[in-house]
């Protein structure tokens, strides 16, 4: 580690060194792709979507719905996309890590020194991460769907992508994963600590259903549809279900929840000491 010369090298053109959101997005993309943990988390996401979809399809082929009522309620799209719910945890945790990891390592201070207005860091991360998860998950949900249907076709339980609502369910599942990632990212930015933010993420995803389940059914049926996961997962619902919100209404509600968390995170990020 010898040193060549102490003086600073030739300066770059100075006037152009302004921070912009587009530049921060590029920077965040460099950060995202240069960490091995990102690749591992996304790999777990991909494997979860495909493997659990295949597994569940094989299971349903082994034990197909027996009576007409069960057959009518059978949703081949949902069966092939079972893995999305598990993948949501991996994506959400990765979202948490993207911000909480910077607080844990102290990198956030470097980031805020480079971008002193701070908010572009949050928006840059959100844009980069949402687009990355979408780009990864969209082809994977399609693959999981197609592989799943080819398995289900053995017992003629399959459905075509062109049937009403099916393509929307496949695309919507990828959108849902992106939105869960943003929820995780928002929680990571709001709570800063990895452990707390992961706990909050799992709590938000699974806690409300457990709590609502304790209420009398007249109340719980009314409330259930507005809970984060039932609302968000509605986008992948092909069979009309009166207990659940409409697909885009439900997904919109989930995005609203994620948006509220991100807005709180933004408010706190500007206010608090780094």
């Amino acid at each position: 580690m010898t040193t060549t010369h102490p003086a600073t090298p030739a300066p770059p053109s100075g006037a152009a060194q302004r921070v912009s959101l587009a530049r921060v997005v590029r920077s965040e993309w460099t950060k995202l792709r240069s960490l091995p943990s990102t690749a591992w988390s996304l790999l777990i996401t991909v494997v979860s979507i495909v493997a659990f979809g295949v597994l569940y399809c094989l299971l349903r082929v082994a034990r197909p719905p027996s009576d007409p009522a069960a057959l009518a309620a059978f949703d081949p799209t949902a069966v092939s996309l079972t893995g999305v719910q598990l993948a949501a945890i991996a994506v959400g945790v990765l979202g948490v890590l993207l911000v909480a990891g910077e607080y844990a390592t102290g990198l956030i201070r470097t980031s805020f020194t480079a971008v002193p207005r701070r908010l572009p860091v949050l928006w840059g991360k959100a844009i980069t991460f949402a687009l990355t998860t979408l780009a990864v998950c969209l082809p994977v949900t399609l693959i999981a769907f197609l592989v799943g249907q080819s398995i289900l076709s053995e017992k003629r339980l399959d459905i075509a992508l062109t049937e009403p609502g099916v393509a929307r369910a496949v695309v919507g599942s990828a959108l849902y994963l992106s939105a869960v990632g943003l929820l995780g990212l928002g929680l990571g930015a709001l709570l800063r600590g990895t452990a707390g933010a992961v706990a909050a993420l799992l709590g938000l995803l699974f806690g409300p259903q457990l709590l609502v389940g304790l209420l009398p059914s007249t109340w719980s049926d009314q409330l259930y549809r507005y809970l984060p996961v039932p609302a968000g997962a509605a986008v992948a619902n092909v069979r009309p279900d009166p207990v659940i919100l409409g697909p885009w209404t439900g997904f919109g509600l989930f995005c609203l929840y994620a948006g509220v968390v991100l807005a709180l995170a933004a408010w706190q990020m500007v206010r608090r000491d780094a």
Binding site: T2, P12, A274
Partner: protein, 307 residues
């Protein structure tokens, strides 16, 4: 140029920085000195807009740091050598930082080479030694060719060669007309690097002065006197209200008087002197004296507050 006016930071009921007013001028290396916990890092975080002052204000190159449109062009900072994700390579860390301001990739290679990390830039920063981590932090600070450089304890973890490199780097940056503000708890290091000193203790300004003036003001000379009869000499000096303490080897450390005065007194009393030398007051001693005073001054006034 860094200008702090009445800068104050309170954490709970602990006053970390207490009404600091100072100006760091371009063209010289300004040392920012204080014992650990004196509030140096907190002050630097406030300069960089990372922590909001409880009261007062601080500007860099005429504006609060957060208001600069091209921040890396204004300030390059090394806050904590570990403000890096351990899983990312040094080059990618710098590249991500550079991209926020549209600084080209070629500049990343330049600073990597300038700090001597060329051979290891592709390695994960988590595997770096403390010294390599410091060099990476300094590379990040130089990235935007900043007008003001703020370094928190840059010599920590550096070897002798690295320390000499930092010294000439800082002097070079100042000679180019930049503002250079460097914190340290090591006075001896600052004596060699800085031309101007801002000294704080317990969050308060103790001195804002040139290095030489600081030594002269802070530490009166001490005379080392070894004699055949140290007890008699000590008694003689104490009878003249001169402070005397043991200095080992039967020698005495005599404060506040010159070698001439000690020699004359000893001669008149018939005490044989074996050694009589004026001890050079070091910056380290000056610093310890200064900050001890600050602590003594502060202790009663904090009242019921934390120690």
């Amino acid at each position: 140029m860094i200008e702090a006016r009445g800068l104050t930071k309170r954490y709970g009921d602990k006053l970390a920085v207490d009404d600091l007013t100072f100006t760091v001028r371009p063209g010289v290396v300004t040392g920012f000195l204080g014992p650990n916990g004196a509030g140096k890092s907190t002050t630097m975080r406030m300069i960089l807009g990372l922590d909001a002052p409880t009261r007062g204000s601080v500007t860099v190159n005429g504006r609060p740091y957060r208001e600069h449109a091209a921040p890396l062009r204004e300030v390059g900072a090394l806050l904590d050598a570990r403000s890096v994700h351990p899983g990312r390579s040094a080059r990618n860390h710098l590249l991500a930082l550079a991209q926020t301001s549209g600084i080209p990739r070629s500049r990343v290679d330049e600073v990597v080479e300038a700090v001597g990390l060329k051979g290891v830039a592709g390695r994960r920063a988590g595997g770096f030694s403390l010294g390599m981590g410091q060099r990476l932090g300094i590379a990040a600070a130089l990235l935007g060719d900043p007008r003001t450089v703020i370094l928190d304890e840059p010599v920590n973890g550096l070897d002798t060669e690295g320390i000499r490199w930092i010294r000439s780097l800082l002097r070079g940056l100042a000679a180019e007309g930049r503002t250079v503000f460097v914190s340290s708890h090591l006075m001896s290091e600052m004596a060699l690097t800085a031309q101007h000193l801002i000294v704080i203790g317990r969050g308060r300004l103790i001195a804002d002065t040139g290095v030489e003036e600081f030594i002269a003001r802070a530490a009166p000379g001490v005379v080392r006197a070894r004699s055949t009869d140290p007890e008699a000499l000590a008694a003689l000096l104490r009878s003249r209200d001169v402070a005397v303490s043991e200095d080992g080897d039967g020698a005495l450390a005599v404060s506040g008087v010159s070698t001439d005065q000690v020699g004359r007194l000893a001669g008149a009393a018939g005490i044989t002197l074996l050694e009589l030398t004026a001890q050079q007051a070091s910056l380290e001693e000056a610093f310890v004296d200064m900050t001890r005073d600050a602590v003594e001054f502060r202790a009663p006034s904090t009242g019921g507050g934390p120690s």
